[in-house]
């Protein structure tokens, strides 16, 4: 995933990757990543939880809009409430 993200960024597409394993992302260094506190197989949280999934996705996409970030931008997801 990170390698595909890097290729997209090189060609002018801004990316953000959901990441489950911090250890790997720190080594590979995708341009922008949101670390999520979910188990393998559950990158957006719980099945059927549309609101929760959407919160993760919106948080991830907002990283693309955040001007203060610099590469590699590796950010922790903190669920609201």
């Amino acid at each position: 995933m990170s390698l595909v993200a890097a290729e997209l960024e090189r060609r002018g597409i801004a990316t953000v990757a959901i990441q489950l394993l911090r250890e790997i992302a720190v080594r590979v260094r995708p341009p922008r990543a949101l670390f999520v506190p979910f188990p393998h197989g559950y990158p957006l949280g719980a099945p059927g939880d549309a609101a929760g999934q959407r919160q993760v996705i919106e948080t991830a996409l907002r990283l693309i809009e955040t001007p203060s970030l610099a590469p590699p931008a590796l950010v922790e997801f903190e669920p609201a409430g």
């Binding site: 595909v4 060609r11 597409i13 590979v28 197989g41 990158p43 957006l44 693309i64």
Partner: protein, 160 residues
């Protein structure tokens, strides 16, 4: 919480000893307009395919580096899990494919104006590629060319 220690021993050993390819320098595209004016594409590595598409091939040494195009109007429940890895629980994505290929969530974001529009196609890869040479040299550039030609501004990458 996904941690290396939560993996099976063989997978744990792999993750710790595998020579992960370090991205250096890290490329960066700064957004020049708000998300609400951007075209979004999804890129998932959950190994999902649609009926009629070839499943990912578990026999490819080093991992099947190909990708499938998923039309933006595809029915999310039609997606079929063809990911070969046994290193994660497939139950969640089987019961709700939005968990790994969030087509419905993307439609909601576009309908609400959070993003400007959705691309006409999204891309499906299968992760667990242990020999990424052809992914880096062939499939990723091919995928990027498609999305650039489509006018995609932002991509959300979802692993499994």
């Amino acid at each position: 919480m996904a941690t290396i220690d939560s993996l099976r021993m063989a997978d744990r050993m792999f993750v710790r000893t595998y020579p992960w390819r370090r991205i250096d320098p890290v490329p960066w595209t700064a957004l020049e307009k708000p998300l609400s004016a951007c075209r979004l594409a999804l890129v998932s590595s959950a190994g999902m395919v649609l009926p009629g598409q070839a499943p990912f091939d578990p026999r490819v040494r080093g991992g099947d580096f190909s990708f499938r195009e998923i039309p933006a109007d595809a029915e999310v429940r039609a997606l079929i899990d063809s990911h070969r890895s046994l290193a994660f629980d497939h139950a969640g994505m089987t019961s709700d494919p939005n968990l790994v290929f969030p087509l419905d969530r993307a439609r909601e974001l576009a309908a609400d104006g959070f993003v400007g529009s959705l691309n006409g196609r999204h891309l499906s890869f299968m992760g667990s590629i242990t020999a990424p040479g052809r992914l880096v040299d062939e499939a990723a550039p091919d995928a990027a060319r498609l999305l650039v030609a489509d006018g995609v501004d932002v991509a959300l990458l979802v692993p499994v």
